[in-house]
Symmetry: D3
Subunit: 301 residues, 6 copies
């Protein structure tokens, strides 16, 4: 489970020997980005993969085929997802094409990918490199595949969006309905068992641990799933049900069952969940979705 | 998560323009069926798949190979499961044969399959067609494979039943012991992480969400797992342990821990679970396993 | 869910017609072992597989390729894991080599494997043979792969350790960070959704059910995950967060959220968890990790 | 290259300890057969495979999956061909089904298969068992697949017949047009590079070595390929072009180019071919297609 | 073996109900072409595939994945070749990319492909549709892969050109060195065993049967392989060795060994080959490479 | 087709900047060798592969997995053959093991491999590097697999030797009976269609082109195939039948049919073959199997 290690320099600092693009201050929930930054991250990934290939020849073949041989992050990611999600009846070439075409049709998908890579790198102390995340984080890969499925859904290509959805659920045990709207800078940590329903909305800079459910409560069709604000942190095994609103900067404790609105900058814990804290961001307060601070759960128990 | 949308007509009504077989009223926990109805559902599936293949050429190959090219639902399902569950050491041809032979040996398996398809279609608003369920619902596919494993177990072909069990657990993250007895008209929604133990019994028209455990409590061998009555609804992440009896029409709240009997038409919520409501069906009461109504959990909190 | 069935003889007794090696009394948390015993278990496995191949020709090919054709347990396990964990970009031959070389480099890995096989056989009434565990238990297989990943991590071969970690998470939905230290005689029962963090430590003779998290609480880098003592039992869906100490012989109830130390021979239940019982082993007390007794959870509720 | 070893007893004699069905004398070009004999050959094959599996554990998995686990020769052959000829776009399950259904629809296919097995066993000293031929002889396998393709062609299912034709040409380098008519008791020895055109006809008990072409001469559509009589032997690399008639019991020398009719019991050698010998069977003459005697080619040079 | 059937209308005529592009007279060795024609052929292919999918559901999946689902002939061919030539160490996605990029970089490749398709359709009576050739003719597929390998060779990307060369030789048994220059409108009929050396040149409208060698004679490095003029026909099993010149419109008899120049409009037959006929095209003479007339070989014997 | 280019320096000279082991003069049919030389060739291969990986990133994955990641030529070759020859029923891990174990059991196998690599490099001007041969030459790979099959045959492991034989014939279209004895320093150039019978013997430093048959003449069992002396060259499409002796340094013309003994240093050409030249090596005569000089065939015609 991730943590912002105070003694660990931010990526920008750590890698300052590499040509880093000018970035604005990374405070609040702002997402820095742009094509320069995307390029910089891709260059980092290739450099990391080359270093790893050098040190571990047994893995070099894998690193070349998935990363180093590719001319862009889009191509590398499409290749990797195509090979991860293919089956005997859904060929890798078909999926590769689908990913390439969809990523190429909307540049915002790539910048969301880069924001997610930065999120994993910044929030999860176990994430030792961008390449590590790109290759190995099933939460990261599931979200990228979801964004493509969501795009296809929006184009009314529902059957293929659902086929992709199904493959992601089989391969990664992550079940995000293609209609769900998911922001940028998302960390799905560990990710196994995450379920996000059809009308759910997830804001930017949200961190969600494994076994989290954003589900419905039945009976009412239409808009029936949770709306998660920016910067929210949802602990492992939490279940949020119904068309409830989890406000910006809120924190949902591990194992909680939440069926009510949670105001901004508020913590919900327990089964059923009780609320702690308040609707406004304190001056010095950190964004839970970014700091991944689960410790406050203790205090409230 | 599913819901019986009041504004959504039942399948029978929706598709009344198609040649629908005569059906009896679908009240209570009764399951309508018969060969005519099985045939009708298979025809629906093929029509849906043809329509989808037309609208999405990229998926047509998949739809033809898994559905349209097959002469029966048994064949289509056996093909699909064989290709989903095969591995480099358990070939698809072997599994295909195993499924074909087992389904052919007992006609009741197919009618259970059809009842499950109807359950998904009727209870889950996210299920947009029978074909969608057949192709993509890992809960549905896991149950069909389980029924075959259960049949093999009953014939004392334990090693192959357990091999199948293991493949289903690997591929779908659904772990149903081959000895467990499971009824008809079951919806395993989302399904990831469901665990059902060796001596568990699940009635008809039951709906079970993801991460649900029907487990043992150790110490006592033999009959040591829950018995789930007809029409029960079990919410996401609920854990039911021991040889307890969950009565007909009961409801188990999401995230609950249940280690006691739950009387019929009663709701259990919380960790540990408390009981609400009563042992007899109220005149106007709906069957929880069919309505998928999770909202009452809120009232009891 | 497993149980030590009082009426079921221990493996040693059951199979006393087979040439069983001299074993010391299996009391307390002691692990008997040695090369003789490893050999004895391997011989049992082959005998079981031959018997199953005889009775079930359709499975014989699988049993020969994974077990009977191999000259040692190391080879059989390396073959099986290589074929289970391979992908189109990480070939089975590469993984087979990696497993073979690592197991050969450290004999203690094999004796840990054997201890795990004995644990499953002794503690889980659903485990009908050693071969059953070797072939089908994803928790067992995930731990064996983890031990190899851990060895590679210790040799600073981090990228390949993480690639292995990722494959185990994809295929088995079991997520154990390669740096985590795990003892011998471990049973991961059902195993889906288990998450064990980077700095976690798991003692010997521990039993962990599915959906269990040994996670961090964020904010603090470095040593931030739970330390699980010998003989501990952790129930399904329990979440243990932070650098807390779960003492020897403790029991964590299903669905519990534990963010505090749990003294030895103590039970923690609920969300948040309360403690029951005491720090010293009563004279007649069984080891929870071995008896798998979940029933006491009921009494404390 | 095969030979009828005078010192080698015929299969019937060799295996007389096995329950052999009553057979008529095997003189001339007569083919003995019938269901009893088919069953006897299948039992031989299973016995051979079991013996080999016993002596070579590394191969046991292969032998079980392709032979021992199957209930009939049809099933075994369909499985083997399905797995040999499948590709990423033509799945083994589809091909298995196609073979099973076609073989089942016409019992004469199986008796032709058995006649081919007997031919290989009787004529090729390098053929050490029926199982050896069934598993390893690409000429044998190519003919069996051709017979299925031919059947499909006759049913006007041309596209799938041609797809099968193409797979056989890719995998075995044997190119027999689906429309070509091929008799029983055929030996395609070594088989690489054999080409048999659309309107060619091959009689019974014919032996054809590798690199043999039965081709057209262009210019004239319709019936444009050779007609090969019963009992003919065609040496390696021989090229027979045009709608010519190769009479019963004729012999075509290795490397010959034949563009003229060859009368019965006559030998053709050279490029272009000259004829030797005469149109009637001498009293003591053996059938070339059965004796595989290439030596007479020498005398005529 | 192919033939220009006098009674069979040319494709243009046959399919005149389809919208056919304006074409110039198809006399002599002229190749008609242009983007319109390429498009027309692609439309024909799709129409043929759709018709076949309709009539043969078992093949529909294959036809959709290889042809109907693609937006262009380039894409369809790249997909088909990628899946045919891939191996466990050279992934289909890599090859697909390589084919797509190379075809896109040089439009002349596609028009050569179309010329080859027309050649097969016009010259081989066994070729029943363009789709039949595209899907099933290994000679056609080998040449298309060769053109890509040749392009890569010309760009000094020799290792990957040779890897492609090797895969084509493994899969199709057609061995064309990437440096060899091959024209348009080529028919490699049956194709198994064709070998074309490094410095060989093959003109336009050439037809080459199976087992044909265009080889070197050793001793002299550099330019050491045959130069084949436009419109040449080379019969099955012919061997042409050394830097010899086979003139325009020449004919090489089946099974011939040619180590000398063959003047234009001349026939070479026998081992060693003798020459017949003369250096100038007779007024009414057909182009051998187009008419596929092998009959004249007979007259010269 | 190969040639000893006079202007091309021998490998020893070309690569003299690399640390080359001391070698004796390479005159006559002597094969230099020894462990030092084997090591030197392996180092060359790795250097070539690294250079190619650098220049062609798309191929780097392939080069790392097949060559660069391996610690020895034995391992690299076993991996490459295992992946080339595997099928859905004969897994790559099984074959890899079989190759590794057999190569390790007899060091002479590796030195024969190295001699073959040197033969290809020295005799075939199209062979641009040792790595090129190791990766892409199906004749080279077929011989290496044959040597393993031959070893298994000698150990009376006939069923697995024949299974390997069959795979080589399927994948490479090279059919060498496992019992055939083949020397060192062999070049099978192009290799498609080569057939070598059960009792054939091939000496050292022999070069054999594609479509060559060393077959039997039937009728006589036992020792019935050709014996090929050291340094022999056999041209493309030549057919040698019966237990005939082809003397040291002999040359068999392309397309010849040989059914008689050919004395040493003699050339046989034609169908049927005539002999030219004499039984003793002329003082200045080169070894045909090494020079690959096919030109003399011309003079004798």
């Amino acid at each position: 489970m991730p943590v912002q290690d105070a003694t660990r320099p931010t990526p920008q600092t750590t890698m300052s020997s590499s040509p880093s693009p000018p970035t604005t201050a990374n405070g609040g929930i702002t997402i820095t980005g742009g094509e320069n930054e995307d390029e910089w991250v891709w260059n980092q990934i290739k450099a990391e993969a080359r270093r790893d290939a050098e040190s571990e020849p047994a893995l070099a073949s894998y690193l070349y085929s998935t990363i180093i041989s590719h001319s862009s992050l889009t191509r590398s990611l499409s290749f990797h997802l195509g090979n991860k999600l293919c089956s005997s009846t859904l060929l890798s070439t078909l999926l590769y094409d689908l990913f390439m075409n969809t990523f190429s049709s909307d540049k915002s998908l790539l910048s969301a990918t880069v924001a997610d890579l930065r999120a994993a790198r910044a929030r999860d102390p176990a994430c030792i490199s961008f390449a590590h995340c790109l290759l190995n984080y099933k939460g990261f890969l599931a979200i990228q595949a979801h964004r493509v499925a969501h795009k296809l859904w929006a184009l009314n290509r529902k059957p293929i969006a659902l086929a992709l959805h199904s493959r992601v659920s089989d391969v990664f045990s992550v079940d995000i309905h293609p209609a769900a709207r998911v922001g940028k800078g998302i960390l799905l940590d560990h990710a196994t068992g995450v379920v996000i329903g059809e009308t759910a909305v997830v804001g930017n800079n949200v961190s969600i641990l494994h076994h989290v459910t954003l589900g419905g409560t039945g009976k009412v069709g239409g808009d029936r799933h949770p709306k998660i604000g920016d910067g929210v942190l949802i602990g492992a095994g939490a279940t949020v049900l119904g068309n409830v609103k989890i406000g910006e900067g809120a924190k949902i404790g591990a194992g909680s069952l939440v069926m009510i609105d949670v105001p901004p900058w508020t913590t919900a814990v327990g089964n059923p969940a009780r609320l702690i804290g308040g609707k406004e961001k304190r001056k010095d307060e950190d964004v839970p979705g970014e700091t991944m601070d689960h410790t406050s759960f203790i205090y409230v128990i």
